[in-house]
Symmetry: C2
Subunit: 121 residues, 2 copies
DNA sequence: AACTTATGCATAAGTTATTTGGGTATTATC
DNA sequence: GATAATACCCAAATAACTTATGCATAAGTT
């Protein structure tokens, strides 16, 4: 039956796992820190994971654009030290949506732990 | 600068997060249970996660085929109650590869928790 | 001065893992 | 006899990435 219904390389140590979680990581960092720009999100993720989770620029910027298009975050450009920074923050009216999204990924992560490590070693 | 470097439908509550983790979940379940068939993996995942992580058949079977092609698992067909079951088990010589894969996803999951929930609430 | 590294944004082609929607077949339940 | 459950499979379309670019400024090095 069926349906019922020279360059630098920014390599990702956890490449294949990151898929699908990137946007929620962005939202969580923005929620925690209030206001961040793309490059900063990459750096902070790298630091917080001791270099084990590395976001690529080719992934982060399109992801930010998509989140903004969806209305979950809002951007504002700023000149800092002669360079342009595009800061993002969570749209206040969407805060609850964002929180639910983060909570859902935490639940998923919990299930993952249970599936991978059933005896909780 | 730059990079250096009438059928049923099995819907997934955690759709977007599952991406990239499916194959490792399969390996973990096989490691834990020794020998399983595709449908069984779907059911067990559903039970272990209280219906919150639901694998689709369209995803699980191609994933199993891919893992077998890679040599990480091996299959054997059996007739049970007039129906064909295709059992899979981890290739003994690849057990260490599988374990490292599982360990890597557990590390990633740990980083995820830290990123999403920095204060460990 | 010239070069490299770091900071910062962006886009596009190609790859890959999914979803979505089919298809087939047997057994059990109503 | 219809529906639900068990069991496998495939293919088109989509989505999320990687990889590879491009542009621009500032700071540090040689």
């Amino acid at each position: 039956m069926h349906k019922l219904f020279g360059y630098y390389y920014i390599m990702n140590t956890n490449k294949e796992f990151l898929s699908g979680t990137l946007r929620t990581i962005i939202l969580a960092l923005l929620k925690e820190n209030g206001r961040m720009y793309g490059y900063e999100i990459c750096q902070m993720t790298k630091e917080l994971t001791k270099g084990e989770v590395l976001l690529t620029e080719g992934a982060i910027y399109p992801a930010l654009h998509k989140l903004e298009k969806k209305g979950l975050i809002q951007s504002s450009k700023e000149q800092v030290n002669g360079r342009t920074r595009k800061y993002y923050a969570i749209t206040t009216t969407e805060a609850s949506v964002v929180e639910e999204q983060i909570a859902a990924l935490l639940r998923f992560s919990s299930h993952l732990n249970h599936l991978l490590n059933p005896r909780g070693l």
